[in-house]
Symmetry: C2
Subunit: 461 residues, 2 copies
């Protein structure tokens, strides 16, 4: 019989019955206690271990409840059959180190400046809601809280010319999440911009669909070339094409809408990212607003206007897609915490958001102008700069330099930059075009970053 002494530690915080339970279940699992073996009587074991009979009884009852032991009337406790699953080497719960890169100058295109975040107001609203509305702990609507959707319908109408009712709006934890749900109801062939967002390509692939790249020219995606594909739907960024920064003019928009209206199953996904950051003039209203609710799925995010880590995006469904959406996803719970939804709702309703946007626009405009000046100072006529009208990144074109070599040299100098080719299906061959974001570039980093890029470039020419 098994030796039971020494398995209990009286100083441990774990209750004695639990220590006993753990030892015995382990002994049964690893075969030390064999099937049909009779367990020692409760009194005997209690005496042997110097613990109370009650403690042993609790452990035995637990082992019975969980199928390790069976209690045979007027006989005692017996070990039951436990099949041995195939065992592997136990893992440690210690964190494996995850790689992380430290950039000297983060010129990524998704960065923002955390110091512009409205900590005080956001924190106040958050706190007020937590203490005043405990019912926000209960489950809300799957599409998002009605209050937020109503406020967003007004906001999108006023700022982006979007025409919708709150019941067309779906709130979700990021654009990827919303697109992941949307794509399967749009047919099997999605046209995408080339160059464009690599993430969209990945989403299309994961949805088991085919991505059809369509070239972007100086007015955005080519509708002529789009019409030559057999796409059911198209994903576009008309306010600020990623990565080229082109804004689609109204004529091209009309042509795109006409393409969609030619067939019932055709739809347009309008990703309105970065439309908040138009520095020169008022942004062109959304494509969705030109269409009035039949063909355009409008998506927007608060990743840049608030923070990338606050996961709130919204989607406006056109009328023909509301029913298919409800059929598939009507029972899904929302992916955004209600306190966060309501904080954003109050933030917009109390006009803090519009003030925040205009403050950010001014700060980023100034930073862009300084960065542009610094780059012109470093490179003179060797660089051609574009993308200064909208969004938080610039495109720099250099002649007589290999793009990949320039990107590699910049990365070696601690600069996080990317080349236009990274976003393209067809590599362009003449010169280099690199993307430099300034969202999280501090004022005192502007000159050093431009200088570091100049150094990288000088090594190649």
């Amino acid at each position: 019989m098994l030796e039971f002494t020494g398995i209990l530690q009286s100083e441990s915080e774990v209750p004695l019955y639990e220590q006993l339970y753990c030892s015995l279940s382990a002994a049964i699992q690893n075969g030390e206690l064999k099937q049909n073996a009779k367990m020692p009587g409760k009194r005997t074991l209690a005496e042997q271990l110097g613990i109370s009979v009650n403690t042993v009884d609790t452990a035995y009852q637990l082992l019975v409840a969980e199928g390790y032991l069976e209690s045979r009337p007027r006989s005692g406790f017996y070990v039951m059959q436990v099949e041995q699953p195939i065992q592997t080497v136990p893992q440690s719960a210690v964190a494996a180190p995850e790689p992380s890169v430290q950039w000297k100058f983060d010129l990524g295109t998704g960065g923002i400046d955390p110091s512009l975040f409205p900590f005080r107001v956001w924190g106040r609203i958050q706190k007020e809601l937590l203490y005043s509305r405990p019912q926000l702990l209960l489950q809300g609507k799957g599409q998002g809280d009605v209050e937020l959707r109503s406020v967003l319908a007004d906001h999108l109408c006023q700022y982006r010319g979007v025409t919708c009712r709150p019941d067309q709006i779906v709130i979700g934890a990021g654009i990827e999440y919303l697109l992941g749900l949307l794509l399967p109801i749009l047919g099997s062939r999605l046209a995408i911009e080339d160059p464009g967002y690599p993430k969209v390509n990945r989403l299309v692939k994961n949805a088991g669909m085919t991505a059809l790249p369509v070239p972007v020219d100086e007015k955005g995606i080519s509708v002529q070339l789009l019409a030559k594909t057999d796409a059911n739907a198209v994903y576009v960024t008309p306010s600020h094409q990623f990565p080229t920064g082109v804004t689609m003019p109204v004529g091209r928009r009309s042509a795109l809408l006409s393409w969609a209206h030619e067939k019932e199953e055709r739809f347009i996904i309008e990703d309105d990212y970065d439309s908040e950051f138009r520095f020169d003039l008022r942004p062109l209203p959304s494509l969705q607003g030109m269409d009035r609710g039949e063909k355009v799925v409008y998506i927007g995010t608060f990743s840049k206007s608030l923070a990338p880590s606050i996961r709130i995006a919204c989607m406006v469904l056109p009328k023909p897609l509301i029913q298919p959406w409800k059929e598939r996803y009507g029972s899904y719970a929302s992916t955004v915490s209600r306190f966060e939804q309501q904080t954003l709702c109050e933030f917009i309703r109390q006009k803090h958001f519009s003030r925040h946007l205009s403050r950010m626009r001014n700060r980023y405009r100034k930073r862009m102008q300084q960065f542009k000046a610094a780059l012109q100072n470093c490179f003179g006529k060797k660089v051609s700069i574009s993308g200064e009208h909208t969004g938080l990144h610039l495109l720099l074109r250099f002649e007589n330099v290999n793009e990949q070599q320039l990107v590699d040299a910049a990365i070696n100098n601690g600069l996080r930059v990317s080349g236009l080719s990274q976003y393209s299906c067809v590599a362009h061959t003449k010169g280099a075009c690199i993307l430099v974001g300034y969202g999280c570039l501090a004022e005192n980093q502007i000159m050093p970053a431009a200088n570091a890029l100049q150094q990288a470039w000088k090594g190649l020419v």
Copy 2:
């Protein structure tokens, strides 16, 4: 020529150039200004409207930038071609009313008691993080913040016997979200529990997979019947089978693991929901812990232990699925806001969560006992009650009553209840079995709710 006077309002908050831009773009869109029409000169229009030339120039430049006008050198501004998209009746931005049911007694199975939420501690941690760690505004790891994953690995090990490294953990905004991503990498045929969660059926359907219902007996899902299907994977709730409340004993668990180990492509999804609320004895450790990381995907949620509206769930991937997951979803952003992740992380790390859990367990146990006593008081031997060991709902069985009629009568009496058949593929015919949750049942509602149910039942016998 168009009459331009009267289109500007000097008292408006909208800048004059924007008002002019809006009127002109609308006139071009609706055809009042025809293609190729020459626009009035800037000076002429400025005089006519009593505004500055600069204002007119800004509006014209904007219209040019957006493709409404073109500027012909030494000639002036001309209206460009704008195709007319098919227009529909504009919608109002007013909220359409959404239906909402008011229950007299909410006995749903997903409810919790908001008054138990640790408002003070949660609010304090949230506030401290917001002010002290602005870098949490920046994008975090797609799988979730490393700190939270490390704390969860420890917590799951201690409380649920889960053996994993932090890099096996994925944090996501709810179980539906995580399952929605997981299912496509598990093959095409998923066995599900019958009776079971209807939501899983919907997820399987949305993933384009086949759901294979396998009967549940008094030990959980039948492994014998599972082995007769050609399922690649199986979804189970071994801690607290939904809806029957059965806990899977260790023998059945071993058999299930053996089934999975028979073929390389087989996996088990262990949904560990409600395992926090075991009232009699220590919960049986997770299936994942018996297997040590090869075959079981463990999923858990904080919907009930914190609140349904706080959207944090976690998933532990077995080693063979880590690479497939990274390939598909490695570029996806997290769906949980980082401040919320870190609040939970600190809440667990500072031991508030374990205290909160034991407080909740005591409160809910007491409530369950009171509710059970009230029901026994009302129904005597006419009811057979089960499900009192785990979770926040009871199963009530009545003989000689039609289940659907009882559910309908209860709903008419203002009780939110459901019948077991609602969760089953095969309707059971003998008597009625209804589910009554007590998570959000206030103490003073316990007797009235039992009485209301008795009234509904009396009308049928």
